[in-house]
């Protein structure tokens, strides 16, 4: 689940913030090895303006946005939601799309009432190819090489991203730049910061899958199971967390469904490979606290409190374990808080809470704040003649919270996928029908909301507020490194393999420095230098 790891994931780093470079007027793909076949009209001239942010005015949040600290929160779905679109957005021709998914696959189209209704509402058959998130980059790479990109494609990891986008993605600038986006009220409700990642060489070539602060890597706990075990105190340091884990493991249950390296790193204040320290972009890899974190997780693994199948299990299996009570702690993205409730709605007494980021020896650790998007989705250059239609579809799928379209896109059909309780859509057993992956084509700006679960909304909003007090933003946001785009995936893969080997006890902890040495000499040092140069340039 690369998108949810708190240090910059492979894809994260590859797709991170090329846009800001464009904003700053930097020719992001100046090192084009092909001699510069990138198009994009901007040349040395001014970059096109990013889309304006025109927030949806139709609703008022119960818990308002705290800038940089929280998303907005809603206790109930606004009553009598109004539709903001008119007619069907599409042209009747089928629309193809591909994207990753972190959910179990939904029922096929012919057995999926929601999907059929979606086609009906859009006015076109929506043909989506879903791939588990962990496999998506490979699927994407073969699709690109096979020249078979669909109308909408979620942008996976690729070399020379700016060049790729210039060649394969339709130019959306004239439709979205500046106030032109007002024609698409759903897309206009996405904050401008998220669009920075979508600009390449000054042209807008993608739609952000916005998450904002609901993207925070988060450690969830089954509070109902903790209560049942008589545990009421939050652990204060890593040792207490370890003891607790031992207490909670037994029989067919393990405290952990994954190896919590990301969380361990947050407890020792180095949740990322890169950091900005005293105004200088640096690598944390030589910091010995990495070994401390690895050692701590290794000890958990050795104590047998991690599900033995954790290293090979896909994200969807981990969610299942958590829902079934076979794991007590679950690492995921903050947004999963609500989808986990939906997915496991039938579990009696389900109570999911997020653990604060504790300090390794007490106190508070450091929360990592990833880039504001899950990723970006582009429209194929081959479908350029349908751009306006496809943008209308994207706009429909991005309808803001509080609209009738949002209610449908996220919760499905009343009486089938959800039942109304008051104004809240409460998911039924058929709720999984909505996981057709339309949200990776285009998605609404996210808010904190769970139907009929006021306490969860409050807890989630409070959690954001609490963990962002000591946090730092992914420092590669807005920086571009050509070496990173070519080699980081491979280098990071090798480093992650070493991490896994160390955590599973196959290699000694001291091998970490060997792996880092390999990482640096294989190109990591160049990547750091390029990021540093880009960082300095951005600072001016």
């Amino acid at each position: 689940m690369s998108a949810h790891t708190p240090h910059p994931s492979r894809r994260a780093v590859l797709t991170t913030g090329l846009g800001i470079a464009a904003l700053a007027g930097i020719a992001a793909c100046s090192s084009n090895p092909d001699g510069g076949n990138s198009q994009g009209g901007s040349g040395g001239g001014a970059a096109a303006a990013l889309p304006d942010y025109i927030p949806f005015e139709g609703v008022e949040a119960d818990l308002p946005v705290q800038d940089g600290r929280t998303s907005s929160g809603f206790f109930a779905y606004p009553a009598g939601p109004a539709a903001i679109s008119t007619g069907t957005p599409s042209d009747g021709e089928p629309i193809t799309a591909m994207g990753p998914t972190s959910f179990a696959l939904p029922p096929a189209m012919d057995q999926n009432a929601f999907w059929q209704e979606m086609n009906e509402r859009l006015g076109s058959e929506l043909q989506i190819t879903l791939t588990p998130a962990g496999e998506y980059d490979a699927k994407f790479a073969t699709t690109v090489a096979g020249r078979a990109l669909p109308d909408f494609f979620h942008v996976g990891s690729t070399q020379s991203l700016p060049q790729f986008m210039a060649s394969e993605a339709a130019d959306l600038t004239e439709f979205l730049s500046g106030d032109a986006i007002a024609a698409y009220p759903g897309l206009a409700n996405i904050p401008t910061a998220s669009w920075q990642e979508c600009a390449f060489d000054g042209r807008i070539r993608a739609i952000p899958i916005q998450r904002g602060l609901v993207n925070l890597p988060t450690l969830f706990a089954r509070q109902d199971l903790l209560d049942a075990a008589g545990i009421t105190e939050t652990p204060q340091n890593f040792a207490e967390l370890s003891d607790l884990s031992t207490e909670l493991t037994g029989g067919n249950t393990w405290a952990w469904g994954s190896l919590p390296l990301a969380y361990a790193r947050a407890t020792v204040d180095i949740p990322s490979y890169w950091m900005v320290v005293d105004g200088t972009f640096t690598s944390t890899l030589d910091d010995e606290r990495h070994e401390q974190a690895l050692d701590a997780v290794r000890a958990l693994q050795a104590a047998g409190v991690v599900n033995p199948d954790a290293p090979s299990a896909p994200g969807s299996a981990r969610k299942d374990w958590f829902g079934a009570g076979r794991s007590i702690f679950h690492e995921d993205s903050f947004i999963a808080w609500f989808s986990l409730y939906v997915q496991h709605g039938s579990v009696p007494g389900l109570n999911i809470q997020a653990l604060p980021v504790i300090g390794f020896d007490g106190g508070t650790g450091t929360q990592f704040v990833p880039k504001p998007n899950y990723g970006i989705t582009a429209i194929s250059a081959d479908s350029a003649d349908r751009v306006e239609t496809l943008l209308r579809v994207a706009d429909y799928l991005a309808a803001p919270f509080g609209t009738e379209e949002y209610l449908f896109c996220k919760f499905g059909i009343e009486g089938v996928n959800y039942e109304l309780e008051g104004t809240d859509p409460v998911p039924t057993d058929a709720a999984s029908e909505v996981n057709i992956g339309s949200l990776y084509i285009s998605d609404a700006a996210r808010v904190v909301y769970a139907p009929n679960r006021d306490a969860v909304v409050q807890a989630a909003w409070d959690h954001q507020n609490r963990v962002t007090e000591k946090s730092f933003q992914d420092p590669t946001l807005g920086l571009y490194s050509e070496t990173a785009s070519r080699k980081l995936a491979s280098l990071q893969g090798t480093l992650e393999d070493a991490e896994l080997d160390i955590m599973l006890g196959r290699r000694p902890v001291s091998d970490w420095s060997v792996a880092v040495e390999e990482f640096n000499s294989g190109g990591g040092a160049d990547i750091l230098a390029e990021y540093q140069a880009a960082f300095d340039e951005k600072q001016g």
Partner: protein
């Protein structure tokens, strides 16, 4: 006249050629045409730029083989070890099975045993790996039983040290039965009068096997060994890639998964193709070499010399 003779022969063979044509076309389309793609081994290939538009870089992509890149050498070493283990342990199993089956008297039981042995061959690796995982995994059936009864559990799946024994036993379980078919066919060809005559001469079962059965199998064994040698650098892609996350790259990377991981997952298409190309050439040389060797020993090998 030579040309009329040739025309007559062509006419005579026309139906046969027509029958072969679809197969040949398929071969051309899916085996030979893609071979052209190997040119990206000599280019700095970017998928969205295209095969022909990507710039030439000469032998730059082969450099990692020459300098002994750690990841490549690791994959090569694992491949060779697994090949060796498989030739020694997997290859003889179907022969032994075939001999055992052949010696069964009851035709009904023999059929039954054969069916049971053939079945696993028709399961895909995904299923086989999942079955092994469900039975033998850390949270699998047997371990759960042991855990429920307060007994010590074992770590087999996900244990890097036991990876090679694991994949080897999976391979035997899945394919050993199926591989007996060829041997059984040869065994059924043996002239039964040879056995009768040897019995008259007072030969026991062991001598019969040594002097009649095994010599009859020699040709097919050598043929299959040569073919296996051609595959020496391929040790099962699906089976290994499915189990790779559990044991890590270091223990499980083989050349085929290396090409996939480096080429498709990491996007270094050209370097991966270079490795794949070298692998292909080495495999061809191995087959030709082994065939030559077979001819030297007076066997038919792949074809008669």
């Amino acid at each position: 006249m030579n040309s009329t003779k040739r025309a007559a022969r062509l006419r005579r063979s026309a139906p046969l050629l027509a029958l072969a044509a679809p197969g040949v076309l398929l071969l051309l389309a899916f085996q030979y045409y893609p071979l052209i793609g190997n040119v990206i081994a000599f280019k700095d290939y970017l998928p969205f730029v295209g095969v022909w538009e990507s710039p030439w870089v000469g032998l730059e992509n082969f450099e990692l083989i020459a300098r002994g890149d750690h990841r490549f050498v690791n994959a090569l070493t694992n491949t060779l070890i697994i090949t060796l283990v498989q030739v020694l342990l997997v290859f003889p199993v179907p022969i032994a099975l075939a001999l055992a089956l052949n010696s069964m008297v009851s035709e009904r039981i023999k059929r039954l045993v054969q069916s049971v042995l053939y079945l696993p061959h028709f399961l895909s690796w995904v299923i086989v790996v999942a079955v092994f995982q469900q039975f033998l995994g850390g949270a699998g059936m047997i371990n759960n039983f042991l855990r429920a009864n307060d007994l010590d559990t074992f770590s087999l799946i996900g244990n890097a040290d036991l990876f090679i024994p694991l994949v080897t036993s999976q391979l035997i379980w899945k394919d050993a039965g199926w591989a007996t078919i060829l041997f059984l066919a040869v065994l059924s060809q043996i002239d039964t009068t040879l056995y009768e005559a040897s019995t008259m001469d007072g030969a026991g079962r062991f001598r019969q096997m040594w002097h009649i059965t095994l010599p009859a199998l020699k040709g097919i064994v050598i043929l299959l060994l040569i073919l296996r040698l051609g595959d020496a650098l391929s040790v099962g892609f699906e089976q290994i890639i499915l189990q790779q996350p559990a044991v890590g790259i270091e223990a499980s990377e083989v050349l085929d998964t290396y090409v996939y991981n480096v080429g498709i997952v990491d996007g270094s298409w050209s370097e991966a193709t270079a490795v794949g190309l070298v692998k292909g050439i080495v495999s061809v040389l191995l087959v030709l070499g082994a065939n030559k060797l077979a001819h030297l020993f007076g066997e038919d090998g792949l074809y008669r010399s």
